[in-house]
Symmetry: C2
Subunit: 457 residues, 2 copies
């Protein structure tokens, strides 16, 4: 079978590939907000129809949350599974978007053509790179090069509550020789990367309650406990003065970076100043004595993602608030145990409560351990070589600061290794206003998957 013919067809069909992606992008499949549930369902339906057009035997599978989409294409040779997620992040603050988030557009920018809109890079655009590679292959050869299972999720941006039960119930069906996951990025501008180290995640939401109602701070100020003050103390106490997280036993299971990996990362020539400068910063703010890449790839973190209490409108209201809330997330590495950290965090919070204050924890948030891939399988080297053929620079094994719990679940539940390859760029504005995906990344991403399909089959 000729790879060149497939690559040519990918080039020729690029406009049609973009048009199909735009259709999917127009569906506002925000998974974290129940108001968008129907749109998540519509995105799943769109994928079912699209995979069917590739000849897959495909089904939309209900869950207590948003549906999964699973498709199978029979074939010889190795059995590859491809995972992506069709849900997207919320879009607020909406007023910072230059174009409507769900009206995707092709735009010419000083850095090249981009596809602009929510989900372009995370993850609909990336998901479609693999689908389009398969489409081109089938168009050229009438079949796919090997047996392929497609597995699409709609809850990745809201902690994947249905993922583990679904994988446990469908372990057999989701077993393959390797799980390919496209939800990561290039390193720098054009170094293709295979992620072998992924941080896990633990999400917490706490509400501290004190007085039974909002009070007048003149009448009660001084004598009444202020929950906003209690919350501030809890949040401020989460880090010590060296930037380390203070939750008891938090660093249990956090490995030191092996020298070999540390050396490889040094070779990547990470430009800390440029990375921080892009977002208006200059000084690494993590643990003292750690490199920038360690801070984002191999060290655990604790971040406040949101907090709110009392009067937040225009002007001033001298209220003594009755409650105060915060959303906090931990990024986990090595063998850190989300359940143990959850217990220890909650105990820490409870120990900080003064008399007359109570705390409520949200039990419906996400948690997943970190993943560290074994690169022993020859498939890793084959994929690395295929990527190196497509891009101007040789592919590298890297870490990733984001949490993609699915990678760990393939290993722990299904028993399959996962290979994370993606084509996003650092300036894609993931989770932020004006998200984009470079047209070059979409195009070369499709070509990369065609090369990998060829190399693995």
């Amino acid at each position: 079978m000729s790879l060149d013919a497939v690559l040519s067809r990918i080039d020729t069909d690029l406009d049609a590939s973009v048009t199909r992606l735009m259709e999917l992008l127009r569906i506002p499949s925000i998974s974290t907000d129940p108001a968008y549930a129907d749109h998540c369902d519509a995105a799943a339906d769109w994928l079912v129809a699209d995979l069917a057009s590739l000849g897959a035997e495909v089904t939309k599978r209900p869950t207590p949350g948003h549906p999964m989409v699973v498709g199978h294409v029979p074939g010889d040779g190795p059995h590859l599974l491809f995972y992506g997620h069709y849900d997207v992040q919320p879009v607020d603050p909406l007023d910072l978007w230059d174009t409507p988030p769900f009206e995707p557009q092709l735009q010419d920018t000083p850095k090249g053509r981009v596809i602009r809109g929510r989900g372009t890079s995370d993850d609909k655009g990336q998901l479609m790179t693999f689908v389009e590679a398969c489409r081109a292959w089938k168009a050229e050869h009438g079949t796919l090069p090997c047996r392929i299972t497609f597995f699409f999720e709609g809850e990745e941006e809201s902690g994947s509550p249905s993922l583990v039960p679904f994988m446990e119930e469908n372990r057999e069906e989701l077993t393959s020789d390797i799980a390919l996951i496209c939800d990561t990025g290039l390193f720098g501008h054009d170094t293709p990367a295979i992620v072998t180290m992924l941080r896990g995640m633990l999400q917490e939401e706490i509400t501290i309650e004190g007085p039974s109602k909002d009070l007048h701070s003149g009448m009660f100020g001084g004598i009444a406990m202020n929950p906003a003050r209690v919350l501030s103390r809890i949040l401020a106490g989460l880090h010590d003065e060296t930037g380390r997280v203070t939750v008891p036993d938090f660093y249990d299971g956090v490995p030191e970076l092996p020298n070999s990996i540390a050396a490889q990362w040094d070779d990547l020539g990470f430009d800390e100043s440029a990375f921080l400068g892009e977002v208006g910063l200059s000084v690494p703010a993590g643990e003292q004595g750690r490199s920038g890449l360690e801070m984002i790839w191999s060290r655990p973190t604790c971040e406040i993602n949101g907090m709110w209490s009392g009067y937040t409108g225009e002007g001033f209201k001298t209220v003594l608030p009755s409650k105060a809330s915060a959303k906090i997330s931990f990024r986990l590495v090595g063998t850190q145990d989300p359940a143990a950290i959850d217990r220890n965090f909650r105990a820490y919070v409870e120990a900080m409560l003064p008399p007359d204050c109570t705390v409520t924890f949200n039990d419906n948030l996400g948690a997943g351990p970190a993943s560290v891939m074994s690169t022993d399988s020859p498939m890793f080297e084959a994929a690395r070589a295929a990527l190196s053929d497509e891009w101007p620079k040789a592919a590298a094994y890297v870490g990733c600061g984001g949490s993609i719990p699915i990678a760990g679940y393939f290993k722990s539940i299904v028993g399959t290794d996962a290979m994370l390859i993606g084509f996003g760029r650092d300036d894609d504005q993931l989770h932020s206003p004006n998200e984009k995906y470079d047209l070059e990344c979409f195009h070369k991403g499709i070509r990369s998957w065609a090369r990998i399909l060829d190399a693995l089959s």
Copy 2:
């Protein structure tokens, strides 16, 4: 002139007095929100018309904010000035109101009849007690008992930005023998009280900014400074472990309570448990070693009135926020200097900023020193006797935790002593949902002013 006839008429006309108050309550004169500016103006117009019906020469006086209302009734004997404010607090959270805040109602409750709605107790209902006493006096005698100046403000709930310039420009017109202010409460259920000690106020709003935009906490978590963490540290550091405020030199000008006043307060039999129990609390949360009344009347405080950062909606968004804000207010006592504390607070905040973070302060908020009244004037004892005649318990000199900067301004700008007498109750839900004013307080408040008018003239 017969006081009894006036008191009788007050009793007879109570329904009409309530009806007039309801008209004023229906005007949503929220001063802190620019969207309600027209309603503030309408409330001023209503008062102009009402004072004119008493025979006052009355004018609505423009300011850069909401208008003042000033009315004069000539007469012999002492010249009394009466101050009140026609603006009200915002009403959120609206969903906690059992009745619409601007559709006032008379309700029967287990504790008696109440007038329910925003501004009933703070301060429209209280303001009208004096106006209705004047109306009854005039109806009975054809004139008022002495020379009276009415002075109504519409910015009390938003820091009174126009008050000082207005008083300075109209010093002569606002000069009287004593300024009567009706914006305080009874002590306990039925001890009439003259406030001789009022806390001042300093309002601050700070916004900490770090990254130039909201970031993905996976991609940037660990290496990027999180402004919510910085804000938490700033807020948590405002008190030490004994409950004292840590702003440098904060306690300059805070006097120890004279033994005579301390003894008088002990005699009031303040029921700390009951006071806190009303709002679901049990333990005084202020400075160690201070009594409950000291905490709310004679000790300065620092309270967080609002804070917000990042994602505060439903579900979870793993954002690393670009900024974090808080509203903070200080209650001041003795001779604490708001300007000095403002400077020292800002220096404290700036000293807490890590690299890459900046702070913006809101320069348009309110500030006013505490007031301590001299009770040497015989008018104080005359008023105390008049109040003792109306209520089941003898009147007392007390403190007040709230900030009523006007009291201090009468002394510092106009050179007049102020006498603060009010009829609110602790459970009036000032600044909170379901604000009310007991009908008994409105009724006996009107009668009290008639007795005081009689005693002072």
